[in-house]
């Protein structure tokens, strides 16, 4: 199962990018543009996630079975 895009890490990275774009005076235009491109993609992915999301409901027994199957590694 491919690791799904994590909204939380996405929005955290977005915050980081915005922060360095706003406050890092050392950035070259090239670096800034590269960061901006990454940020724009992330924002689009986050937006998409928000629009398409549907609450998933898992029973604890299923969660335990998945946990066993994944060799005791929590997602």
């Amino acid at each position: 199962m491919a690791k799904a895009f994590s909204f939380e890490s996405g929005i955290r990275r977005l915050e980081e990018i915005t922060e360095s774009l706003e406050n890092n005076g050392e950035l070259t235009l090239d670096e800034a543009l590269k960061l901006y491109e990454e940020g724009a993609k992330l924002a689009a992915a986050c937006d998409k996630k928000l629009r398409q999301a549907e609450l998933k409901i898992t029973d604890i027994s299923q969660a335990e079975a998945d946990f066993e199957k994944d060799g005791g590694v929590s997602q």
Binding site: F7, I11, T18, L29, L33, G39, K56, T58, D59, S74
Partner: protein, 400 residues
């Protein structure tokens, strides 16, 4: 009277005790009454009386039993006690030996609640220092509640609407009746065991104090406090407080409110993403603007320091030199021309040709001017030069 049997006090008491002990009806009975004259002995035994409006009976609960009691008996508390009736031979008092005891009625529950709260407080179960922050963006939300209650429906409704990017890990449990607390403790352990959630909602909908009582179980409160996953308690209504509420990392007034506290709203998240988009764009635009400005400055600087200016300068100097040179040359020419004119005028004044126009003429012989009559012989041909022409003349006579 002789054959009348005389008993000692001890014999009587032993006899009556044996009668009481032998009566199976008295071996295991439930007795309800109000506690009075309660003494908590240092040994751990509890001595008290149980009374109702019609009577009173002494009661004792030995430490081995009393230590398992979930509350401390107090005067005025109504209880249901389970135990046996026997006789304390030394006092000749028949009394009730209590094995177990439950408080009865809301008033008593309140007393128990307060006592447990005090006890857990001193244990540090409610301490602020062990409270954990609630994550803002949980991937998984553990929900521990009844599979049939309104609480589950409310929680799922709200999370579907506000936080559909999450996943609910549902633990169906019993929330009231015997075994409820154990069932919830088990669910907490299972979720923690697989680290199955980033935050847990533990709760149920409203009910009477008895209905909510499982949430005042001291072991459940300890399990809530010990949970490595942050717990939001949501028991009953706004006004209901349970020990779980104090032990949890956050108390929600209702299950719906718990669902709102457990995660952000996607509307605000969408707004946040939008904010980041705008802020990023503004920052990059500003940087691009700065770069453009810098570029302009460099270009200006380049222009200022360009050799073009020197070239222009040189060209200008060259032009000026040329015009000065021309002017000088013209002056020179003018002067010379003037001098020439003057010379010509002077020359003209001296010229014999001018004299000729006044009626004089020049006699020439052999191309040379004849200045004396002696140069002439009779018969010579001479040229007479006039201002506008000449004539050849022959000398016919000479006189001196």
């Amino acid at each position: 009277m002789n054959d009348t049997l005389v008993l000692t006090v001890s014999q009587l008491n032993t006899y009556v005790k044996s009668l009481l002990d032998a009566d199976s009806n008295l071996n295991n009975i439930f007795l309800t009454g109000e506690i009075s004259n309660c003494t908590l002995h240092r040994s751990g035994h509890i001595y008290f009386s149980l009374k109702d409006s019609g009577g009173v009976i002494k009661a004792v609960m030995f430490s081995s039993r009393a230590s398992r009691l979930g509350f401390l008996p107090e005067n005025g508390m109504r209880v249901v006690a389970r135990g046996r009736v026997s006789l304390y031979e030394r006092d000749g008092a028949y009394q009730f030996y209590v094995d177990d005891m439950r408080a009865e009625g809301a008033g008593s529950l309140y007393i128990i609640f307060e006592q447990l709260k005090e006890k857990l407080y001193h244990e540090g179960v409610f301490s602020d220092e062990i409270k954990q922050p609630i994550p803002r963006l949980p991937k998984r939300i553990g929900v521990i509640t009844s599979p049939t209650g309104a609480a589950l429906r409310d929680i799922l409704n709200i999370l579907s609407r506000r936080y559909p990017i999450g996943e609910v890990v549902f633990c169906p449990v019993q929330v009231q009746g015997s075994g409820a607390a154990e069932s919830m403790i088990d669910a907490l352990k299972r979720l923690n065991g697989i680290r199955g959630a980033d935050v847990i909602i533990l709760g149920r909908g409203g009910g009477s104090i008895e209905d909510l009582w499982a949430f005042n179980d001291e072991n459940l409160a300890r399990a809530v406090a010990a949970s490595e996953i942050p717990v939001i308690s949501a028991v009953g209504h706004e006004t209901d407080y349970t020990l779980c509420d104090f032990a949890s990392d956050m108390r929600a007034p209702t299950p719906s409110a718990a669902a709102e506290l457990a995660a952000d709203d996607i509307m605000s998240l969408a707004g946040e993403i939008n904010y980041y988009k705008n802020a990023m764009l503004a920052a990059v635009s500003a940087l691009a603007g700065d770069c453009r400005g810098e570029l302009e400055r460099c270009k200006n600087c380049l222009v200022r320091n360009s050799p073009a200016a020197a070239v222009h300068d040189g060209m200008q100097r060259l032009d000026m030199s040329l015009s000065r040179m021309n002017a000088a040359l013209n002056d020179l020419l003018r002067n010379r021309r003037a001098a020439l004119g003057e010379a010509v005028a002077r020359l003209r004044a001296l010229s014999p040709l001018d004299v000729l126009s006044r009626g004089y003429s020049i006699a020439e012989k052999g191309g040379r001017a004849v200045c004396s009559a002696s140069e002439l012989r009779e018969g010579d041909d001479i040229d007479l030069k006039f201002s506008d022409g000449s004539a050849v003349c022959r000398v016919t006579s000479i006189s001196r």
